[in-house]
């Protein structure tokens, strides 16, 4: 009895471990890595303001804050972002006015671009173990880069005389993704991200 059991044990155990070890991950496309995060001031009543203002520029937030004027993002993408924000704000019952008309809230957007570089190296012995490891062969070096873009959107109560000359935001959205290299695809992802930020913020808008 036990011999039969013992002889059956390895294949059963092996099959079970194979089943368990099969562990997929869900990321198939770059867009699967897109993230939209929003946070807000819970004490602020977003139904109170009626008017908003939005600048006509989207600046790029770079590592050097002394750059003056700061860089701007691609004009086509900039316009797309501003138009999408306006559409969403209007759809939520807010009315756009010029900043000189003292709006109730201001909507601002900024972009962040980070290039990530990964590299690795290894000796040929990893690939040709049959021949042993010869360190005098040049190592295999691989490099990969990818660009992560982040759009930051803020809503701030507007004041011509803010206390301490500082504006305190009441809503922030972070829309983050990896650049695919396809302009039209990335633009669509930005639009989807902005829309999602408003969708997941049901407290926004006039009743």
């Amino acid at each position: 009895m036990s011999r039969v059991g013992k002889s059956l044990a390895p294949p059963i155990l092996g099959a079970c471990l194979l089943l368990v070890a099969c562990h997929p991950t869900g990321v198939e496309y770059i867009s699967d890595l897109d993230v939209v995060a929003t946070t807000h001031d819970a004490t602020f009543n977003f139904a109170t303001p009626s008017t908003y203002s939005i600048p006509d520029k989207v600046y790029e937030i770079s590592g050097d804050p002394t750059t003056n004027p700061p860089s701007r993002i691609d004009p086509t993408l900039e316009q797309l972002i501003l138009n999408t924000l306006k559409n969403e704000m209007n759809a939520h019952g807010y009315t756009e006015v010029a900043v000189t008309d003292t709006p109730d809230i201001a909507v601002t957007a900024g972009a962040l671009k980070v290039t990530n570089v990964n590299y690795y190296y290894g000796y040929w012995c990893s690939y040709w173990s049959y021949y042993g490891c010869y360190p005098y062969y040049p190592p295999v070096v691989g490099v990969s880069t990818y660009v992560v873009g982040t759009l930051l959107v803020d809503i701030t109560p507007f004041s011509t005389t803010p206390p301490g000359n500082q504006y305190k935001g009441v809503w922030t959205a972070v829309i983050r993704g990896i650049q695919t290299g396809s302009k039209s695809t990335d633009q669509q992802r930005v639009v989807n991200g902005i829309s999602q930020a408003f969708i997941q913020s049901p407290y926004l808008g006039k009743p």
Binding site: G5, L13, V20, D32
Partner: protein
């Protein structure tokens, strides 16, 4: 001379008694099983799908003809890929999420095999498990991931049935696993269904 005559008798007595002791030793069962797990409660809230990745290893010794005590080890993997919004410390995060629970039960158990009929080839049982669950919880959204592992105290009632055959036994069981909250990870529950094969280890 008289002593010499007694020696074979003494030796035979020792051998026979040793054989008798040997026969009374509780047989040890070793079992391997494939496990399906149905998430419940907070486990379900974290990963909805039924886990079909599970394996179990059981060792049991009969202390009485109708009572066995043993150890149960396992590995159950719950996984879900979902695109949804999650709330975390006042921030709503939307994205494609990978959620994984790796659960390793380490349990001591007792099983009672009631005599329901003269047919011992089909033997149901009722069991109780106590011990711990090592649970690794993995969460990834976008390019960010977090992982935490905690030991949870746990209990698990169990029912099952052995179908004995000349070379071992096939068994089916249902175990209700309850791992109490630990390290900020809430109470976890899942129903494990096992199909396994057991054999006697002398």
């Amino acid at each position: 001379m008289r002593t010499h005559k007694l020696l074979p008798f003494a030796a035979a007595t020792v051998l026979l008694s040793a054989t008798g002791v040997r026969a009374q030793l509780p047989p040890t069962l070793v079992g391997l099983s494939y496990q399906l797990s149905i998430p419940i409660g907070e486990t379900y809230n974290y990963t909805h799908p039924v886990s079909w990745r599970g394996v179990g290893l059981e060792v049991a010794s009969f202390v009485r003809r109708d009572l066995a005590v043993g150890l149960a080890f396992g590995w159950n993997v719950f996984f879900e890929n979902i695109t949804t919004t999650t709330s975390y410390k006042g921030t709503e995060v939307y994205g494609n999420q990978d959620r994984t629970l790796n659960v390793w039960p380490v349990l001591a158990n007792a099983r009672w095999f009631p005599k329901l009929s003269s047919n011992r080839d089909i033997q149901p049982y009722i069991g109780a498990n106590i011990g711990g669950y090592i649970i690794e919880r993995y969460f990834a959204v976008g390019q960010t991931a977090s992982q935490e592992t905690h030991f949870h105290f746990g209990l698990a009632p169990e029912i099952g049935v052995f179908f004995q055959n000349p070379v071992g036994a096939v068994f089916l069981s249902a175990r209700y696993n309850m791992a109490f909250a630990s390290g900020g990870v809430p109470f976890q529950q899942f129903l494990g269904l096992s199909l396994g094969y057991a054999w006697e280890r002398n």
